[in-house]
Amino acid sequence: MARIDDEMLVCRCEEVTVGEIREAIAQGAFDVVGVKRRTRAGMGLCQGRTCEKMVQQLISMELGVAPNETGVSSTRPPVRPVSYGALAEGVF
């Protein structure tokens, strides 16, 4: 498979590129959470819903492991964005 260009944007919410993700892997990241902490990929408004698969594939290619061995991001409440006003009133 052709090498994906370093300039390509992977996480649109936080503007993280393929190159930045490769660098994080070179520094020791071995799973989705490790990449997220080192680059912010998946930390934005969509919480990784768009980019997680792509991050998994990059780790899989760089480290030669199966995509399902690259972990998933922990899901954290609230499941969808909710206003603080609603949360204060106990709406989730």
Partner: protein
């Protein structure tokens, strides 16, 4: 077998800082972490750094010393750890809110004590509070301003220590490697190395930087380490821009509850039930982080919905505009709470070659640099960074009745649980 000058157990704030400062002294270091670097508490925390959230004395002094090291690091590190600065390139400062005369009096006492130690800190009236934080509530009693405190991205500091240490060629990092035992000379008790699930490593020196798990590492050399996990929870907003004006803001109760001195706060039963106190900051990335609480939940780091709700209430109390912004996630962490409120940083006389760098509770981001620096001084026999640092030594626990400390901690924990249970019972009625 791999052989090193020193092995550091734990790749959190303390472990990575120790690794960095030890390599700066020319020592060959193995950093051993059972998960990933920064996978523990250092990724489940705020990034407030400063001297003000500590008790006046050795505690606030170690904060002040660490701030000097952060200032060095931001100038010398290539790795950007998001040290927050204002337009004058100074740290951004903390603002504390007092919601009662009681809190304001307590804050004034703290200011007087820290000023005597040379730590810049002021009590401010509601007028000045408004100048500092124009978005805050208009009906507060007063506050406290600490211009020299600041903020960093905690896990980026840990990654930064590792990347900077790698440049010396003296650091080997072993992630996904769990320490199972520590080898000792049967006669002298001196450490000889560690046993892990990936094999053995030899070294005449070993550092326990395992945070909340430090008691398990201590037990491997026969030590009873008085550290318990103390739960905290935070929420993160969508991009908000500056709700806080480039500053970190806390309610003064956050400081008081740390030492179980909060008295009566004028708060909702839900907030009381979960011991929630506001800390809030609009950070460099444009998100606002809103917390927090102090509870005892064992080793659980599960976010709880009622706590999110209480945090939202507390946030809106001090920053009414917050109500219209979205929360996008919540996360929780455990603070390595040393039962006398001081971290344990030193060598261990009864186990030659063994060092402790643990128990930093809610201050481990601030105290990361100074702790690694002190351990590097202990390990090379150099004079300590500051005289009072001796008070952080493990030796203070010798001859103390650890069981009595544990009992007191259990009582505090039970009292908190009782408030929560009373609240839950009131809901059922």
């Amino acid at each position: 077998m791999k052989t090193y000058d020193i092995i550091v157990i734990g790749g959190g704030m303390m472990g990575t800082s120790c690794a960095y400062y030890l390599t700066q002294e020319g020592l060959k270091v193995a950093l051993i972490e059972r998960g990933d670097i920064a996978g523990g508490t250092v990724s489940h925390t705020d990034g407030y750094i400063g001297a003000s959230e500590k008790q006046p004395g050795v505690d606030s002094m170690q904060g002040a010393e660490s701030m000097k090291l952060f200032d060095e690091m931001r100038k010398t590190f290539d790795y950007d750890f998001e040290y927050a600065t204002n337009e004058n390139d100074d740290p951004i400062g903390f603002v504390y809110f007092c919601d009662s005369e009681f809190e304001f009096e307590k804050a004034k006492e703290q200011v007087a004590k820290n000023q005597a130690l040379g730590i810049e800190q002021y009590a401010v009236d509601p007028y000045i509070l408004q100048q500092l934080e124009p978005n805050c509530a208009k009906d507060l009693t007063g506050g406290m301003w600490v211009p020299k405190d600041g903020a960093v991205c905690p896990f980026r500091v840990a990654f930064g220590f590792v990347e900077e240490a790698k440049k010396t060629g003296l650091l080997d990092v072993f992630t996904r490697t769990e320490v199972l035992d520590i080898k000792q000379d049967p006669n002298t008790k001196a450490v000889q190395g560690v046993v892990t699930d990936k094999g053995e490593f030899a070294a005449p020196k070993v550092v326990n930087a395992a945070g909340c798990w430090a008691p398990f590492i201590g037990a491997m050399v026969g030590m009873e380490v008085p550290i318990e996990p103390r739960f905290g929870q935070l929420t993160v907003s969508e991009k908000t821009g500056k709700i806080t004006q480039n500053r970190l803001a806390l309610e003064y109760g956050y400081y008081l509850t740390k030492f179980f001195q909060d008295g009566e706060r004028p708060i909702d039963p839900l907030v009381k039930a979960y011991n929630v106190c506001l800390n809030i900051t609009s950070d460099i990335t444009g998100n606002t982080v809103v917390g927090g609480c102090r509870l005892f939940r064992g080793f659980s780091i599960k976010s709880e919905y009622r706590i999110i709700s209480a945090v939202a209430q507390r946030g809106i109390r001090y920053y009414p505009m917050l109500k219209d912004f979205n929360c996008i996630r919540s996360f929780a962490g455990i603070r390595p709470f040393s039962l006398d409120h001081l971290p344990i940083v030193s060598d261990v006389e009864e186990v030659p070659g063994f060092y402790m760098a643990c128990g930093h509770e809610g201050d481990g981001i601030t105290l990361g640099p100074i702790t690694g620096k002190l351990i590097s001084q202990y390990a090379t026999g150099k004079p300590l960074q500051f005289e009072l640092a001796k008070e952080l030594a493990w030796s203070r626990w010798q001859g103390r009745d650890i069981a009595a400390y544990k009992k007191k901690e259990e009582e505090n924990s039970k009292a908190l649980k009782a408030v929560e249970e009373a609240y839950l019972a009131s809901l059922e009625k």
